[in-house]
Amino acid sequence: MGNLREFPIKYRLFLKAYPWRRVDPVPWQPLQKPLEDCRLALVSSSGFITADQAPFDETIRGGDYSFREIQSDITVDRLIDAHRSDSFDHSGIRKDPNLAFPISRMRELEKKGRIGLLNHRHLSFMGSITAPGRMLKKTLPAALKLLKDDAVDAALLVPV
């Protein structure tokens, strides 16, 4: 659970040998106001799309580095699991997309006042990207601009 042993041997070897990019120095942005006054967004690498969106392109070597916007008022039964990896059990996120894209939970927290505002849109990336350089250079600036334009204060990032 939560360790390499859950993976088939080919993924274990890959994960051990993979040249993970090290963040150095580690940036640090403390909250500038109480969480109950902050605007939050979800960023997930669970690869969810909606029916009206183009699927992620499985033919791109190193992984599709685009992202999809997911509107905050979406009902989870409209989220489609488009994650390409066969390295994990998809049955949980197909049964309940909140498991990796907890939009219902975040709306509940907004309603309770635990967070200030839930942003009106969120970001869905494809995970298991083995060539993240293109994503960082080509895609992330647009994703960042979107969040900055919306005056997002904080983000919860959820993998799958």
């Binding site: 939560g2 390295s87 939970r105 997002v152 983000a155």
Partner: protein, 83 residues
């Protein structure tokens, strides 16, 4: 996700990242990582279990609020055991 988190943080957005493998958090070093003891595909514990999902999210939000944390902050999530 760790690289995305770092870029957001560099641009003034506070982040907390759910992490399934501690090894990855230690190598990549996102600013704030909550390491969960769940298998891949189950980052928020269990489907159709809002209480368990909220427990993970609440632990992540507390990391955002914790002024004593230093970067990179890697915290283990310890779930309550079912009775």
């Amino acid at each position: 996700m760790g690289l995305v988190a770092a870029e957001l943080e560099r641009n003034g957005i506070s982040t907390v990242t759910i992490q399934l493998l501690r090894m990855v958090a230690e190598k990549v070093r996102p600013p704030r990582a909550l390491v969960v003891p769940f298998r891949h595909g189950y980052p928020l514990a269990a489907p159709d279990d809002p209480a368990k999902q909220h427990a993970v999210i609440e632990a992540a939000l507390k990391m955002l609020e914790d002024t004593n944390l230093q970067p990179p902050a890697i915290v283990d999530f310890v779930p309550y055991k079912d009775k």
